[in-house]
């Protein structure tokens, strides 16, 4: 089975339980189990080759330019972890089937579980670290869903949030670390990175990368000082705790440290950071666990402690320690998952997990008692169980370790951790199962059905078997995984008896001391409970609260809803960044030959300046003066198309403003005070100065690189079939842009129409109906001279429009300009003869015109597909008709027709919408051609 399929199976399967739950809980559980079992089977088929030392790879190209590929590989370490995830997953699915009550939605639970499983398998099989990061974040997200599964419990929601915050923050740090690592190693493939140890460790960025990556690993694996989220995540249903918080997710951090071990370990930084953190976590976790009265909290802190132990072993950086770490990962997964499940059973049967209310369960729940006792003894490290084997080996490693020049300190602290571990493990047995039977359990407990204890029993069987026969049971797996961690072929030797080694004495001391500590537990507990300790949850909440306050204060300050303020901030910061960028860069300016200043230029310039100043001073409608000067500038500076467009747009804009200004207040009172105006003037002045200097600098230097304009000029005729390069760019080279732009134009017109309709159906309607014009109306609204002239002009104007359209491909013109000219011709009729008269005579719907235009342009583009070319590829040919000269037809012409129609439709719809408002406000409507009937007047005179 392809590795990608093994990863994908749980994700695909996640859909099934939600669907199959309608057929019953057993079916849903079976389906979920089948999905996991299939993935496990696929993994098992690769196992022989991997154990032989092969590495299985799968690669699918995704974004090769970014170095991001879907690339997986399976070696010994991946096999170990994927096996744990899928194997224990299978047991959890069985256990959860019987654990969840009838009220819990089981389909959702299994779906979340499979999502999580897929993400975990993805992490351990990823070869690409970017891909790994994606799966890493997915585990944070899916575990959030699982921890918060009981949505009605506030602790569940809080625990889920805390877990997501802490692991999510760590994940962010890790993204940065991984990117740095990838940069140093020159590749994002793990298989390459692990070979670059020398380059990575010599890099000045080694320490930052290490710190950031460790931050991710430590948060995920609940290492001190980030250990606090794990106990709060215990609000999750017990199957989740057993799965995520003992066997899989919290081991993701360990996995990554093991994975990157060849690249990062072996330096003093690695040793002091990782080994020390691990050691502190180990002792602190064990100490807190000893005094927890909640069964799951006790197990949670013991997990923290054991994760610390494994971290510490990885931190030592020796091959022997790495072997022990791998071995302990296996052992811990077996006994801790079993213990969590027994805690769940006790909770399920006795309806409490409070150790103070338990005790004496030995006779009531004999099966659970046996399972829990064997698993606890293994956790305590009692021979011959598997926990003993790895703890003995750990102490052996610790005894050899010199920390900061002190040969005994490390071993001593590690032994203290082991001692406390013995104490809380014994406590789990003694305080829960031994002692007299109590009369006051919340519910009288008894052993659950086989379905519920089958999974922990199987794991405990493994505990015993590995303990008794470590070499045949696990040596092959430890060898394969440790070889993958160290990249050197490893051969582990696991035995019960090593002779009278220091480790043996330390181990004996730990067991004896642990038993002694437990004997005095009641006294110690009093001391512990009266001592002042920092409460992690309170600190965390205070931090989150503080961050939220800072964020909301910042947001309130920046987003106070004042538009003018946003614009001022935007203008000021854009100018600031511009200045900063300009002063930071080096400019290679090649001066060019400047164009001379003529008297006409000066006159145009002066008009713009005077008009702008007049607008500022008196708020006069002198915008069109500026527009006309801009048109003149365009035509002077070799841009005839732009001049034509600008001048026709000026006309429609003037009409638009006249229609709208009729309704807006005629006076614009001065709103802002002197200080405000001064501030705005400074901001605006700086912006203007910046823009002016920038364009001056641009215009007075040559291009550093060849522009693509040369291509457009040379290929306009051969490829586009037109000599007007601007038009060919619009309808051919950059046709896709133009297509988008006419769509935007159409949308803008429709927005105006929709706004009008909303206005006319809202409260504004009454206001409009009661509208009193505040200025005197013209007596003759439709002067005869204007009416006659515009009607005479209409056919000519339309002809000009068509002419401009037709010649557009080769001479200045084209769809945009032609559309504007035709729109002006039509608007003239509205203005001269009145809205109703014109409307009655025009049969075309403007909405339809916009739609037809966009459709025509789109269909022209699609036509290229039939030619086997990409969208909007144009074609042209020369044709001959009788009586006419040879002429050229290009598909770009059809596209330009679309532009033409859309422009007419959009402009007309916008203006018509505004004039509807005017009519509603009491404009009298005439359907006759003139207000005054000239013929009637004549007859009157004649009479």
């Amino acid at each position: 089975m392809s590795l990608a399929l093994i990863v994908a199976l749980p994700f695909l399967g996640a859909l099934l339980p939600g669907l199959m739950i309608r057929s019953g809980r057993n079916v849903a559980a079976m389906v979920t189990g089948t999905v996991t079992a299939s993935a496990l089977l696929g993994l098992a088929m690769h196992a022989p080759a991997v154990l032989w030392g092969e590495v299985i790879t799968t690669r699918i190209s995704w974004l090769p330019m970014l170095g991001l590929d879907v690339s997986f590989y399976l070696d010994g370490l991946g096999l170990l972890f994927a096996g744990l995830i899928l194997g224990i997953g299978l047991l959890i699915i069985l256990y959860a089937r019987f654990y969840l009550s009838n009220k819990d939605p089981m389909g959702v639970f299994y779906s979340y579980l499979l999502l999580f499983q897929g993400a975990m398998v993805g992490i351990v099989l990823s070869n690409n670290i970017l891909l790994l990061l994606i799966f890493w974040e997915l585990t944070s997200l899916s575990s959030f869903l699982l921890i918060g599964y009981w949505k009605h419990l506030p602790e569940g929601r809080q625990g889920a949030r805390m877990a997501l915050t802490v692991t999510g923050l760590g994940g962010l740090a890790m993204i940065a670390g991984m990117l740095i690592l990838g940069q140093i190693a020159g590749s994002y493939e793990l298989s390459v990175i692990v070979t670059q140890a020398a380059a990575i460790q010599a890099s000045p960025l080694y320490l930052p990368a290490l710190l950031l990556i460790l931050l991710g690993c430590f948060t995920k694996s609940a290492q001190f000082p980030f250990h606090f989220w794990l106990p709060h995540a215990m609000a999750a249903p017990t199957p989740v705790s057993a799965y995520l918080h003992s066997a899989t997710m919290v081991k993701a951090g360990l996995f990554l440290m093991a994975r990157l071990w060849p690249a990062l370990s072996g330096t003093p930084e690695w040793f002091y950071l990782v080994a020390t953190t691990g050691l502190v976590t180990m002792v602190l976790g064990a100490l807190i666990a000893l005094f927890k009265d909640d069964l799951k909290a006790l197990l949670a802190f013991s997990t923290v402690s054991h994760l610390g132990l494994i971290t510490m072993l990885l931190g030592l950086g020796t091959e022997a320690a790495a072997r022990v770490a791998v071995f302990h990962i296996i052992n811990h997964a077996t006994f801790k998952a079993a213990l969590f499940m027994t805690a769940g059973i006790v909770d399920h049967e006795a309806h409490t997990r409070d150790i103070k209310r338990l005790g004496g369960l030995r006779t009531l729940m004999p099966v659970t008692f046996v399972i829990a006792t064997v698993a606890s003894l293994s956790m305590a490290g009692i021979p011959p169980l598997n926990g003993f084997l790895s703890k003995e080996m750990m102490l052996e490693e610790a005894a050899h370790t010199v920390w900061a020049g002190m040969p005994w300190l490390f071993a001593l602290v590690a032994t203290a951790g082991a001692l406390l571990s013995v104490a809380y493990s014994f406590r789990y047995i003694v305080h829960v199962f031994l002692g007299p039977v109590r009369p006051d359990y919340p519910q009288k407990p008894h052993d659950p059905g086989f379905g519920m204890w089958a999974a922990p029993a199987f794991l405990t069987l493994l505990v015993v078997l590995i303990g008794l026969f470590p070499m045949p049971m696990t040596a092959w797996l430890v060898d394969a995984a440790a070889s993958a961690v160290t990249t050197v072929r490893q051969h582990v030797h696991i035995a019960h008896w090593h002779g009278f080694t220091p480790a043996l004495f330390l181990s004996v001391a730990a067991v004896a001391g642990g038993a002694a500590v437990l004997a005095g537990h009641a006294r110690w507990a009093v001391v512990w409970n009266t001592a002042r300790r920092p409460e992690a949850k309170r600190i965390f909440e205070a931090l989150v609260e503080g961050a939220a306050q800072v964020a909301s204060r910042l947001t309130d300050r920046l987003h106070d809803g004042a538009l003018s303020r946003y614009l001022a901030i935007f203008a000021a910061s854009a100018t600031g960044f511009g200045v900063w960028a300009w002063s930071g860069g080096s400019s290679l300016r090649m001066p060019v030959h400047l164009t001379a200043i003529g008297p006409v230029d000066l006159a145009a310039w002066a008009s713009v300046v005077v008009a702008t100043l007049a607008i500022l001073a008196f708020h006069l409608v002198l915008v069109s003066v500026v527009g006309l000067m801009v048109s003149v500038t365009f035509i002077y500076l070799s841009a005839p198309d732009l001049a034509l467009t600008q001048i026709s747009v000026e006309v429609v804009t003037a009409v638009l403003l006249l229609l709208a200004l009729n309704f807006l207040p005629k006076e614009t009172p001065r709103e802002s005070g002197r200080a405000r105006r001064l501030r705005d003037a400074i901001v605006a002045g700086a912006a203007g100065l910046g823009v002016g200097l920038l364009i001056y600098a641009l215009m007075t230097s040559t291009f550093l690189f060849d522009t693509i304009s040369g291509y457009h000029l040379s290929q306009s005729k051969p490829q586009g079939g037109g000599t007007n390069v601007v038009n060919v760019i619009l309808v051919d080279f950059r046709g896709y842009d133009t297509y988008g732009e006419i769509i935007v134009l159409g949308i803008a017109a429709l927005v105006i129409y929709a706004l009008t309709e909303t206005l006319l159906n809202g409260p504004a309607n009454r206001k409009l109906l009661a509208w009193k014009p505040d200025q005197k109306r013209a007596g003759d609204r439709h002067p005869m001279m204007l009416v006659v002239a515009t009607r005479m002009l209409l056919p000519i104007a339309l002809m000009v429009g068509v002419f401009i359209f037709l010649r557009g491909h080769n001479q200045p013109g084209g769809g945009f300009i032609a559309g504007l000219v035709v729109a002006i011709a039509l608007v003239m009729q509205y203005m001269a003869s009145g809205f109703a008269w014109t409307q009655a005579r025009q049969k075309v719907d403007y909405h339809g015109l916009i739609g037809a235009g966009v459709l025509a342009a789109g269909l022209t583009g699609v036509g290229a597909w039939f030619n086997g070319r990409p969208f909007l590829t144009s074609d042209f040919g020369h044709f001959k008709l009788p009586f006419l000269e040879e002429f050229e037809l290009a598909t770009a012409m059809a596209f330009d027709t679309g532009v033409f129609l859309t422009v007419i439709g959009a402009v007309m719809l916008a203006l018509a919408s505004l004039s509807i408002i005017a009519r509603r406000a009491g404009e009298t409507v005439n359907t006759e051609p003139f207000d005054v009937d000239p013929s009637a007047g004549e007859t009157e005179e004649a009479q």
């Binding site: 841009a639 638009l656 457009h712 803008a748 505004l914």
Partner: protein
């Protein structure tokens, strides 16, 4: 010529920016138009200034002006008309609905800001 064009663009930008910072709709509309001119001319001028060499392929002509900024600006002119129309319609609608043409209405009302 360059200095004239640059100073005109700078002036239009400054005037446009100042006007869009006002608190009534009319100056903002006018300011936006001025800014549109400034931006369009800016983009156009980034192709450098050329006199008498329009980008129409003709026999014998060797030099042409840069056609690409012109194509960009041509659509920009039409789109800015569409945007001006939308803004005008929005301010008209806001005025008719709320009875005031003030921009940031959550600031304290001044007496002359009342509806006519």
């Amino acid at each position: 010529m360059e200095i004239l064009l640059a100073s005109a663009v700078g002036l239009l930008t400054a005037a446009g920016t100042y006007l869009i910072l006002r608190l009534r709709t009319f100056p903002v509309i006018v300011g936006l138009s001025l800014l549109s001119y400034a931006v369009n001319v800016f983009i156009f001028a980034s192709g450098r200034l050329t006199i008498g060499h329009p980008p129409i392929i003709t026999k014998g002509a060797i030099e042409y002006t840069d056609p690409l900024p012109q194509a960009l600006v041509l659509t920009a002119i039409v789109i800015s008309f569409g945007m001006t129309a939308v803004i005008v319609m929005m301010s008209l609608g806001a005025f008719l609905e709320s009875g005031t043409d003030r921009i940031d209405t959550d600031e304290p009302e001044t007496p002359e800001g009342d509806a006519p």
